[in-house]
């Protein structure tokens, strides 16, 4: 599961007011190279929750992303490559996504999170 996907998911457990971002428990992380697409990255930059991406990438062991970022940084090839790497090349294979309010764990296995809610969580 890429961090781009993680950036879209939140806990929707009944009663939770802010289930984003999900915390990550990383047991196995894999890196898979993928072609660099500058236009795509520039497009995504405005849509991504930056802090959540930084936090998540650090949990996966990648510490190169700056704490905060602005559009002007998109002119830097170096920045773009780090953004690319964090967003698309880091994969959470095994572990869990954790609801930030309740601590409830959504297991991740083979890169696939199980976000099914129990009956009492709906």
């Amino acid at each position: 599961m890429r961090l781009l996907t993680h950036n879209m998911l939140s806990s929707n457990i009944k009663g939770v007011t802010n289930g984003f971002p999900l915390l990550i428990e990383a047991v196995k992380v894999v890196e898979k190279e993928v072609d660099f697409n500058e236009d795509f990255l520039k497009n995504m930059f405005v849509k991504v929750e930056w802090k959540a991406l930084v936090e998540a990438s650090r949990t996966l062991g990648y510490t190169e992303l700056p704490e905060s970022a602005e559009a002007s940084m998109l002119d830097s090839d170096e920045f773009l490559r780090k953004f690319h790497h964090a967003l698309l090349e880091l994969h959470l294979e095994d572990g869990a996504l954790v609801c930030p309010e309740t601590g409830r764990k959504f297991p991740v296995s083979k890169g696939i999170p199980n976000m099914l809610l129990h009956e009492d969580e709906v």
Binding site: M1, R2, N12, N114, M115, L117
Partner: protein, 213 residues
């Protein structure tokens, strides 16, 4: 990639071993899948370099077709772990990257920021009434550019009315009418094969920010 080549690759995918009738699991044939994605990209530019979500992905046919046509990031969502297993293996076979999320699409916390296009062949609502509309409602909430979906032709007026009035659609057009081959998958099917008239819809949500919609 040529249409024929796409269709051929999709035809090589593994399909449901033990389809679950209560989930209305039917494979999306390579003929329909290839045309759906080909049209989405060539007529509307909704696939290449985009973030594409496949709702009710089953064995992954539509999502993988999107990946084959150059979608930058594809995510398949399905409630059934067994289907996702098959989809995962299909992606692996074709050496394509596709994320999967196991969930109930009706209660998944999913943002509306990042997904450009939703492609889906949702349950028609023959087992669980209204399932088709539930899928459509969620799709129109999260897509920012377009939603492609297959629905029975008999529901055409209802779908158009509901999408425009209740689901935040700016436009709802039938791109073409197809015949969906339903092979004798389940025991209660009496005939060897049955043709169901199906509409391929393109919906544009009101939050659409693309230049031509």
């Amino acid at each position: 990639m040529k249409l024929k080549q796409l269709e051929s690759l999709l035809g090589s995918l593994q399909q449901f071993d033990n389809p679950k009738i209560e989930l209305e699991q039917y494979p999306t044939g390579p003929h329909i899948a290839s045309r759906l994605l080909y049209t989405a990209e060539n007529s509307f530019g909704d696939v290449t370099d985009k973030v594409v979500a496949d709702f009710g992905c089953g064995c992954g046919t539509l999502g993988l077709a999107a990946a084959l046509l150059g979608a930058e990031h594809v995510i398949g969502f399905d409630i059934d772990a067994e289907s996702i297993e098959i989809a995962y293996s299909n992606a692996d076979e074709l050496e394509l990257d596709m994320d999967f999320v196991q969930c109930d699409i009706r209660n998944l916390g999913l943002s509306d920021r990042n997904i450009d296009t939703v492609v889906m062949n949702p349950p028609f609502g023959t087992r669980k009434k209204g399932a088709d509309m539930e899928f459509l409602s969620v799709a129109l909430k999260v897509a920012s550019q377009a939603v492609y979906s297959l629905h029975k032709t008999t529901t055409r007026d209802h779908i158009k009315r509901t999408a425009l009035r209740d689901y935040n659609a700016r436009s709802a057009e039938v791109v073409c009418e197809l015949r969906f081959d339903v092979p004798q998958l389940y025991k209660f099917h009496k005939k060897k094969e049955v043709d169901v008239a199906v509409d391929l819809w393109r919906f544009v949500p009101k939050t659409d920010r693309s230049k031509d919609s």
